[in-house]
């Protein structure tokens, strides 16, 4: 039996890669999460600026600070990867250059984000004293 659905109805929500709006949506969800996290970070940096090494290690060892720091890093790196991806896709039209920059963006984000999260966890779990 023939389908009565219109071509638009079948296509709705499905991009060429069947992902629909997931990238767009993920950037917004990370943006919402970053609002409180970034505000917390600003005051965290104010606190850290007046602490020496020992003080900073103790600050990061507080469970709430450690968890928020990790969440901030993960969310910020996700969001900045998504944002830079859109910038590259918008302005770079040479296929090879675009592909190289998109891969570089992902590698830098994942590598540096992982380094940051591992370092925070190492300090928080007592590996720095």
């Amino acid at each position: 039996m023939a389908s009565y659905r219109t071509p638009l109805g079948r296509a709705r929500g499905l991009g060429a890669a069947h992902h629909g709006a997931s990238h767009w949506l993920a950037e917004r969800v990370s943006a919402i999460a970053l609002v409180p996290l970034v505000l917390w970070m600003v005051f965290g940096i104010l606190r850290l600026a007046s602490l020496d090494y020992q003080g900073a290690v103790l600050w990061v060892s507080e469970p709430l600070n450690a968890v928020l720091m990790v969440l901030l890093t993960a969310t910020a790196y996700w969001h900045m990867h998504a944002g830079m991806r859109v910038i590259v896709e918008d302005y770079i039209h040479k296929t090879l250059t675009k592909a190289v920059l998109l891969v570089l963006n992902m590698f830098v984000s994942v590598l540096v984000g992982s380094l940051a999260i591992f370092s925070i966890l190492k300090v928080a779990l007592g590996g720095a004293l």
Partner: protein, 130 residues
């Protein structure tokens, strides 16, 4: 996409500058700047995990005149991107898209970024953090 030398949308060279155009470009510019800021934040974490000597070098670097200028610009970038990001989230809900509202929220976002940056640096100076 075909590899071709064509002018890019939105044809910056033929548009008269206006406020909402500035806020849009500044959103991307601040976002790109905060990319570098996130790398500086990661450097903080790695420095702290590397021990007292490396962490002292990091603090020395960020406390230098150049470090302070970078931190000040990042503060401005964070607050601008935050305020303008919320503006974008409101737009995504379909509200505030008319020219009058968009111009008004542009002024609010810019004013918030400047005021919040000055307040934070005021706190930093009075508490002896810088």
């Amino acid at each position: 996409m075909i590899d071709a030398d064509r002018p890019l949308s939105p044809h910056v060279q033929v548009w008269r500058w206006h406020l909402t155009m500035f806020t849009s470009i500044a959103h991307r510019a601040s976002g790109a700047g905060l990319y570098a800021g996130a790398l500086i934040l990661a450097a903080w974490a790695v420095a702290l995990a590397s021990g007292p000597a490396v962490y002292d070098s990091y603090r020395h670097l960020m406390g230098s005149p150049l470090g302070k200028v970078v931190l000040f610009l990042l503060t401005l970038g964070v607050f601008y991107h935050l305020a303008n990001g919320i503006r974008h989230l409101v737009w995504d809900s379909g509200r505030g898209l008319d020219i009058k509202s968009a111009n008004f929220s542009a002024v609010v976002a810019i004013a918030f970024a400047i005021v919040a940056t000055l307040v934070i640096w005021g706190i930093a100076i009075t508490t002896g953090a810088v």
